[in-house]
């Protein structure tokens, strides 16, 4: 177990916070919000309202108000769905997988990442519904007993998706809540007023007794153990939405690992995007240090290279397979109508992460922030390229087409970001965004005698 928050601070024992400092500092982030917070929240709610209006407009008149141009039957909505599901993955990776690996640096960032996961899944889950032609029959996708005696088609990857995404939502939410309980209890014992009442209820009677910790630790461990295969499976299932088809550019065995790596890649980028301002605003420099960012950057580098490798493999296999449809599809990707999308993707995801080989860049928080924004952009375009560009150039030459999104899609896309940030803002001001318990855990408690 690490003995310090970060290597830098390890040599400076006096900078290492005490338990009560940790509780105090983190609980301090939950104070009364500033004006800036309300302005930001107001802005987010305005954009969200625009998205909701666009959605209502679409439901009223039909999905034709989106820019769909057959044969491109999936567009911005599914792109955004995959994007948000991808974002979600990093949270579970950091909280569950790194937990199992006992990675010390996760403790300061995992709460943010996990909250991001839940909100990203909440955002992602909306899109399969938004893209439905008849959203009012969305419940038909669930196998519930009905008088028609009809069930769903379990062979359809879309049904797998329903199961995977809802399972993922449930499990990641449980994971977040379970992790929060001791923290809420800690805050509960620090604050007064209505917040005290709120936290008394939400801490579910947590006291940190020996029995509670006994069951809690086990439960948390097993949840982590369950979440680990889940996180790998969810994006695999999402990738099978595409890979199970016969669309050239979709039908590839590489898709599951490729998507999982891409998901984590985009998720890490989003964590960085969120962490940098959060750290600044909440003055958490003491807890979230350059060391954390460098670790995130290394993760970004690793997954980015997997993604870059997948790009190369895709193009190579398209050529190597000799399959004329695959070849044409990938030729079209690189040099067809949508070359700009493909090259945005390749540059942002394939080439840019290579800069992280330079330690200087890895340790520069502004550089990482900028890069994370580009990675987000690049990953959105990756899904756009996979979905839209492949569909626009399939088997039947006569039926090839070109799709341009409409204002409705852009509004709903913007609304989805607003929806996500709304939840995140509400969360950040009401619940600890850095895990009190886990940060404490890596700092040894004071002893009478030196450790044996």
């Amino acid at each position: 177990m690490a003995t310090a928050i970060s290597p830098e601070s390890a040599s400076l024992q006096d900078t290492q916070p005490t338990y009560s400092e940790i509780t105090r500092d983190i609980a301090a982030t939950l104070g009364s919000p500033s004006r800036g917070y309300y302005v930001l929240l107001g802005l987010v709610l305005t954009v969200l309202a625009a998205g909701v209006i666009a959605l209502l407009y679409q439901v009223r008149w039909g999905i034709g108000v989106a820019g769909y141009t057959p044969p491109v039957m999936w567009g911005v909505y599914i792109t955004t769905f995959v994007f948000w599901v991808g974002i979600a993955h990093c949270g579970t990776l950091i909280s569950a997988i790194l937990y199992l690996f006992r990675s010390a640096w996760r403790t300061a960032v995992y709460r943010t990442a996990e909250a991001m996961t839940v909100f990203a899944v909440m955002t992602a889950g909306l899109f399969p519904l938004i893209h439905l032609g008849r959203i009012w029959y969305a419940y038909w996708l669930f196998p519930y007993p009905n008088q028609r005696q009809l069930w769903v088609n379990f062979k359809s990857p879309l049904v797998w998706d329903v199961f995977a995404v809802s399972t993922y939502f449930v499990v990641s939410t449980l994971f977040l809540i379970v992790g929060l309980i001791p923290d809420i209890a800690a805050v509960r014992d620090k604050v007064t007023g209505w917040r005290k009442k709120l936290y008394t209820i939400t801490s579910l009677g947590w006291r940190g007794s020996d029995q509670q910790w006994r069951h809690y630790s086990r439960a948390y461990l097993y949840l982590a153990a369950l979440a680990t295969p889940l996180v790998l499976s969810v994006h695999s299932v999402v990738s099978w939405d595409f890979a199970m088809s016969i669309v050239p550019g979709w039908h590839a065995t590489i898709f599951a690992p490729y998507f999982v790596a891409g998901a984590i890649y985009s998720g890490v980028a989003m964590v960085i995007t969120l962490m940098v301002p959060l750290r600044k605003v909440f003055r958490m420099e003491r807890y979230i240090t350059v060391w954390h960012f460098e670790n995130l950057a290394k993760l970004l580098l690793l997954t980015g290279m997997i993604v870059g490798y997948a790009y190369v493999v895709e193009f190579f296999i398209a050529w190597y397979s000799g399959n004329p449809f695959e070849r044409a599809s990938f030729w079209n990707r690189a040099f067809g109508d949508y070359w700009w999308a493909t090259w945005t993707m390749l540059i942002c995801n394939g080439f840019m992460p290579l800069l992280l080989w330079f330690p200087k860049i890895r340790r520069s928080i502004p550089a990482l922030f900028v890069m994370s924004l580009f990675v987000n952009l690049g990953m959105w375009f990756e899904r756009f390229v996979i979905i839209v560009v492949s569909l626009s150039y399939e088997y039947e030459p006569y039926a090839m087409g070109h799709y341009t999104p409409s204002w409705v899609e852009w509004s709903i896309l913007a609304g989805s970001f607003a929806w996500f940030f709304m939840w995140f803002l509400l969360f950040a001001k009401n619940f600890p965004t850095v895990s009190i318990t886990e940060v404490k855990e890596i700092i040894p408690m004071p002893r009478r005698r030196a450790h044996p």
């Binding site: 005490t18 338990y19 009560s20 509780t23 196998p143 005696q149 009809l150 069930w151 769903v152 088609n153 379990f154 062979k155 049904v159 797998w160 199961f163 995977a164 809802s166 399972t167 449930v170 499990v171 449980l174 994971f175 379970v178 001791p182 209890a185 800690a186 509960r188 014992d189 620090k190 009677g205 006291r207 940190g208 007794s209 020996d210 029995q211 509670q212 910790w213 006994r214 069951h215 809690y216 630790s217 086990r218 439960a219 097993y222 949840l223 369950l226 979440a227 295969p229 889940l230 499976s233 299932v237 318990t437 886990e438 404490k440 855990e441 040894p444 408690m445 004071p446 002893r447 009478r448």
Partner: protein, 169 residues
């Protein structure tokens, strides 16, 4: 805190080895039903208390297995209940149903784990006194004991290095 408890002594420790020592001594004295509060899970304390491994893991196992079989059974039965041929594939075809089964394994496993956590925690939580500092930076030990035995226990706690011992009624 509204819970009534039998009354006893509540000690607060700042040092983890001191608290662990106190626990061991309490156990030697024959006390079993004391409660230890820690802000973070701690191995030394846990070792000193010496509980068995939590049986929440059984819940996880049973939930997971239930989910797995339910996933297969549900998808196969539902396919057969209104059989329709799609894409020239067998009507119940186990391969795609692996995904359903897997997801339900995880889902029911996780739900069962939470259920187990709640059930066990509620069952094993004994009423006792508590202090808000125990979630912050102090380790608390609550020893329920009748009035006549309090001095001995207090003596024990004080000597183990308790920062504070108070009587709770």
């Amino acid at each position: 805190m509204s819970k009534t408890h039998p009354g006893g002594l509540l000690a607060a420790f700042t040092q983890v080895d001191a608290a662990a020592g106190a626990i061991r001594e309490l156990k030697e004295m024959g006390y079993k039903d004391f409660t230890v509060y820690t802000p973070v899970p701690n191995h030394e304390i846990a070792d000193a208390v010496g509980h068995k491994v939590s049986s929440v893991r059984l819940w996880t196992l049973i939930g997971g297995l239930t989910g797995m079989s339910l996933g297969f059974l549900m998808s196969i039965w539902m396919s057969l209940d209104y059989p329709l041929i799609v894409g020239g594939k067998p009507i119940p075809s186990w391969m795609p149903y692996v995904v359903i089964s897997f997801e339900l394994t995880i889902l029911l496993g996780a739900l069962a784990t939470i259920a187990g956590l709640i059930v066990h925690s509620v069952r094993d939580t004994k009423p006792g006194a508590f202090d808000g500092r125990f979630t912050d930076d102090m380790i608390g030990i609550f020893v329920p004991c009748p009035v006549e035995r309090r001095p001995a226990v207090e003596q024990l706690l004080q000597s183990s290095g308790a920062a504070e011992v108070r009587v709770e009624t």
